[in-house]
């Protein structure tokens, strides 16, 4: 597997872990607001995940012409 595909897989796994962390915080603390920390980190990871997918496709096929 090429490096960029590996990076996509890793960011996907980190996003899943952030979801698990959110659920864990929600279930084990009284402060639901704390659950937003992993959620927001998860969003940031999703942005990287999508950026990598776009970059891989652009490298393969070129940029989409609008």
């Amino acid at each position: 597997m090429e490096n960029i595909s590996k990076a996509i897989a890793v960011t996907g796994i980190i996003a899943v872990l952030m979801g698990i962390a959110m659920a864990y915080v929600e279930r084990h603390t009284d402060d639901v607001n704390m659950a937003f920390i992993p959620l927001v980190i998860g969003f940031a990871v999703i942005f990287v995940f999508f950026y990598l997918i776009t970059k891989r496709d652009d490298d393969k096929y070129g940029k989409i012409k609008e």
């Binding site: 952030m18 979801g19 279930r27 639901v32 969003f43 997918i53």
Partner: protein, 476 residues
């Protein structure tokens, strides 16, 4: 036995929380990304999206394929369900009036995801032995990502979630709604038989019959619900201004009577919003694929509009019925949730007990049309695994038996939790697949815009506009 069921339910509840939080990261995160990438198509092109949704009324006459309007109505049938009545009331009772604000926000974000999944479903749709089009996550995973194993996994997940779990839940809801309003001896058995007979007539009639049924019943019932809700609100007209103000005033602060923080409001709004409009879950993509249209973008625009209709109109109207009852303390003081709360509020108006019966009928019709919508999704996916009469008829008979049996029972909490957990898993898988295939959607959208710019009223799609069209079989 009861202890075992309680333990099982608690265990599933834990899994449910974990799976849904994983899904939230993907659903909202990718929803925001798609919204930005599509330049807010769901809002900036709202007018043209709405026009497309109703413009297909005359399409598809006399064919076994569905018009874009029929597909829109089936998807609205699946979307506009018990969640639009009971779900909204529960959101307000647990997250305060501000939860409605967050339902709106997540509907706007989710409609971009709905656009993406619907376009992909159209690009990778397949014509089956019934001459109709079928598609959805299983199809685009197999043909787009070239993974038949992943496709079969998703297809089986969908058949179990919708064909068994959700049919069970909706049939139970439909039957309970009627039994609550019309009490007589053996009423559960009578209503179970009625539900099974109508379901059998529709599922053996095929998608075209279901399309006709949904395109007739759904718009009428949605309009009637809006009329009924406006009448209920009119009796408390003096409180509507306050009701709207309370949604905004409580968007960032939860009423002290409930306790908790902003997290409670946002999570409640998010959960109820996703349950109601189903954006990004992969369910609506199955229906989006069934229509016979000239460009995949058309179905994407129609379905993204459907998400907004579901939440911004239908859910908001239900919310206003509840909130116009009085102060939030008055509402909480009733000590009710779900459809019982809506019934209590509506029957406190001069409509009296008649409101209870009317809401029960709406609950029955919405639950029934949702059930039929879910059936179409399971048939599409059963055809994906094996497209022959034996498989399809097995699914049809199983769905009718499940609908009949579930209509006899009063509580399907475990089935509800199991299907809900499967759905959460499916949402994360579906959104990941959509992200991996997103280039196809952006290329199709660039082509649509190019043709529109050139003055073409109804753009036509050719697979040559895609960089990789190897899995596309139904487009020239």
């Amino acid at each position: 036995m009861v202890d075992l069921l309680t333990t099982l339910n608690d265990m599933i509840g834990v899994w449910n929380t974990y799976f849904w939080r994983i899904s939230f990261v993907f659903l909202i995160g990718l929803g925001i990304v798609f919204t930005l990438k599509l330049k807010g198509i769901q809002i900036t092109k709202l007018g043209s999206n709405a026009k497309l949704a109703v413009s297909g009324v005359s399409e598809g006459k006399g064919k076994k394929k569905l018009s874009s309007f029929e597909a829109f109505c089936i998807s609205m049938g699946a979307r506009i369900g018990v969640g639009n009545i009971a779900g909204v009331a529960t959101a307000i009772a647990t997250g305060g009036p501000g939860a409605v604000f967050w339902m709106w926000i997540f509907a706007i974000i989710g409609s971009a995801s709905s656009f993406m999944e619907s376009v992909l479903a159209q690009i990778y749709k397949e014509q089956k032995t019934d001459e109709g089009y079928h598609g959805g996550p299983a199809y685009y995973a197999t043909k787009g990502l070239k993974s038949r194993k992943l496709g079969i996994f998703v297809a089986i997940l969908l058949v179990l979630t919708f064909g068994v779990g959700f049919v069970m839940v909706q049939s139970c809801n439909a039957s309970n709604a009627l039994c609550g309003a019309f009490e007589f001896e053996n009423n559960h058995l009578v209503f179970a038989a009625i539900i099974a007979v109508i379901a059998a007539a529709l599922v053996f009639g095929g998608f075209k019959i279901i399309g006709k049924f949904s395109s007739t019943v759904v718009p009428v019932m949605a309009l009637l619900w809006i009329v009924f809700a406006i009448v209920a609100m009119a009796f408390n007209a003096g409180n509507i201004g306050n009701a709207i103000a309370s949604i905004f005033a409580n968007a960032f602060s939860i009423p002290s009577i409930l306790g908790g923080g902003i997290g409670t409001i946002i999570i409640t709004g998010l959960k109820r919003g996703v349950f109601s409009n189903e954006a990004g879950l992969g369910s609506i993509a199955n229906v989006a694929a069934t229509s016979d249209i000239k460009h995949p973008i058309k179905q994407g625009k129609i379905q993204s509009f459907g998400v907004l209709v579901d939440t911004l109109i239908v859910c908001t109207i239900t919310a206003l019925v509840v909130l116009s009852y009085g102060t939030f303390e008055d509402i909480i003081g009733l000590g009710l949730k779900g459809s019982n709360l809506v019934q209590a509020v509506a029957s406190s108006t001069p409509m009296g007990d008649a409101a209870n019966i009317i809401i029960a009928i709406f609950m029955f019709v919405f639950a029934f049309t949702s059930m039929i919508g879910y059936y179409t999704m399971s048939e599409s996916n059963a055809r994906f695994v094996r497209d022959n009469k034996i498989t399809v008829n097995t699914v049809r008979i199983a769905v009718i038996i499940v609908a009949f049996a579930a209509a006899l029972v009063t509580d399907v909490t475990i089935a509800d939790n199991i299907s809900d957990t499967f759905m959460a898993a499916m949402a994360a898988v579906n959104m990941t697949i959509v992200a991996l295939l997103s280039r196809q959607v952006f290329e199709a959208y660039a082509d649509w815009k190019k043709q529109k710019k050139a003055g073409i009223e109804e753009p036509e799609f050719h697979r040559s506009v895609l960089s990789d069209s190897s899995g596309v079989t139904e487009w020239k």
